[in-house]
Amino acid sequence: MLEGFLNAITYQSVAAEIGGVIIGIIFGAIPGLTATLGIALFVPVTFLMSPEHGMIMLGGIYSGGIFGGSISAILINIPGTPASIVTSWEGHAMARAGKAPFALALAAVSSGIGGILAAIAVLFLTPILSSFALSFGSPEYCALLIFSFTIVIVMLETPLASNLFGCFVGLLIVTIGIDPVIGTPRFTFGVVELYSGFNLVAVLIGFFCMSQAVVLALNSLKPDKGGEIIFDGKRPYGELLRVVPTRIFTYLRSAVTGVFLGILPALGPVETPFISYALEKRFNKRNEKFGKGSISGLIASETSISANVGGSLIPLISLGIPGSGAAAVFIGALTLHGLQPGPMLFANQPTLIYSFFWGFLILNIFMLFFGVFAARYCAFVLKIPKFVLATFVAVFSILGTFAIQNNMFDVFVMLGATAFALWFQALRISLLPVVMAVILGPLFEQQIAVLNTSYSSVGEVLQRPVAVVFLAVSVLMLGFRLVRGTSRRGMPEQTEV
């Protein structure tokens, strides 16, 4: 382990760490170009490097990309990567209140802390956590997914019925594609491109990036009153020092949530912040105004994302099992370097793995400092005229979507998703339950199929305590919301997202 640490602080490693983070931030900050795409495009470049430096650089691109997504989320309300959707709600609200430098610095610090906590978990707890990941069977997955849907549905202030409706419409839409039981396509109307369903990233780019390009275009034609973001010129250090120590429990909660979801091979950085944010909103005792620039909300989102990225390294390295599209590319890159992730890699190449883990920890520290001291300069983005932003957000949304699978059909899916997002907003149905359903729906049905074939009775499922706890909590939350919802009927509705 010590040797790994020494490897991670050589000048080549440090160059890989800094270089990776900076490339990642640039990639992530451009709406439409995702962190996953960044990794995929840079895999060939790492062949020119030694395995550990290549891995560290890819790790840096990934972490930096996810933080970079938060920069555009905060400054222009466009999540640069799908992981920063949640960050955009709180972060952009803070920026509108004139606190953009603080929001950027807080996002960086939270992201860094989440990554560091996760790296510590990865360094010391990998064997325990990977065996825990294996114990998660289909009953646990189904229960966890029901819990995730429920917590998002009850978190929103919009009417419960419309939240549920949105969730089920989303679930129905993603049944288009492969049938997980028979293995043949269904509901595709003969369209070959639909055989594996809608591409999730394309849908999310449509929901959150392209729709904002349209809004930006309008703002450039007709300046939005009060929509200009002005900096107060204050440096954020004092407020950071004051705020961060008081939110220890938020950090711990979010980091644990992030690592926990990260070690499960099926849940990646896109879905994690939703769950972490909803949990924070449910259990935060501070009575903060969520959705209006809440500090805890931003921390919960950012910390959980980078904790998730760190946590996903555990099944990735120790079992060779990817937790997300980015992780799958990672495994391919490792294999091309002649290192097949799996139990033997740990046994045969411990130094290399520990170099990578330490490198991951160090690059998170770099990211933290970059965010605190340099992210303010990203404010130049706000100086770019709106018409330029609108044009290039549109270009990058389209080209970024195309590059996911080199497929023009995905671009039309993305444009369709843009229309869908605006349509649902006009119907005053919150898009969030739809998003959750679209992200998690396929996994949910797959796990139900596995559950259905491998368990013959409900009694067998009830013997799995973890599953029972998740289900019970979901039922309780829904019950509370029903009771509270009826007692508060007549309150003004507010559409949050």
Binding site: V181, V214, L221, A394, L399, N406, M408, Q425, A426
Partner: protein, 163 residues
């Protein structure tokens, strides 16, 4: 607004019905999950329609981005409309004209329409962007964007430089 909501929910119901009809054709256990969803969504649309009918006299307050978009009038609305059409047409045109030409034109037109009045400047910026990205896609990132005559020529040119 009431009509809009009604038509929307009817569309969703129709979508559910079409999937439901197809799901009937799936044999055995595999049809249970989609059929359950279809049923719930149909019940949901009924409920949503009922709510819409009950609220039809109340004024609807739109919030968020949509309210801005709907509030656009006159030349703004026209330009916004053109912006949307332009970028929907862009992926189609890519296949016909190739990356460099289409991207240059689309960016230049978009910039001009939204505010940049100096068309030559807009064209120059757009062309520079397109060529830089075309070269990046060809040499570093290997993104196979649709190629036209100009793109093919550039590819061969770069290849000749390299070898």
């Amino acid at each position: 607004m009431f009509v809009f909501r009604l038509v929307s929910f009817l569309l969703i119901a129709a979508f559910a019905l079409v999937l439901g009809e197809q799901a009937m054709g799936i044999s055995g256990m595999a049809s249970t999950y989609p059929l359950t969803l279809v049923t719930v969504v149909l019940a949901g649309t009924l409920y949503m329609i009922a709510t819409a009918v009950a609220q039809r006299r109340e004024p609807t307050v739109l919030t968020g981005d949509v309210s801005h978009l709907v509030a656009a009038t006159g030349p703004e609305r026209l330009r916004l409309f053109a912006f949307v059409i332009l970028w929907v047409a862009y992926p189609w045109l890519l296949g016909l004209l190739g990356f460099i030409v289409t991207t240059t034109l689309a960016i230049a037109v978009s910039l001009y329409m939204l505010g940049q009045k100096r068309i030559l400047l807009a064209l120059a910026c757009a062309a520079a962007f397109s060529v830089v990205f075309a070269v990046l896609f060809m040499t570093v990132f290997y993104v196979p964007v649709p190629a036209g005559v100009l793109d093919d020529w550039l590819t061969s040119f770069i290849f000749r430089l390299q070898s």
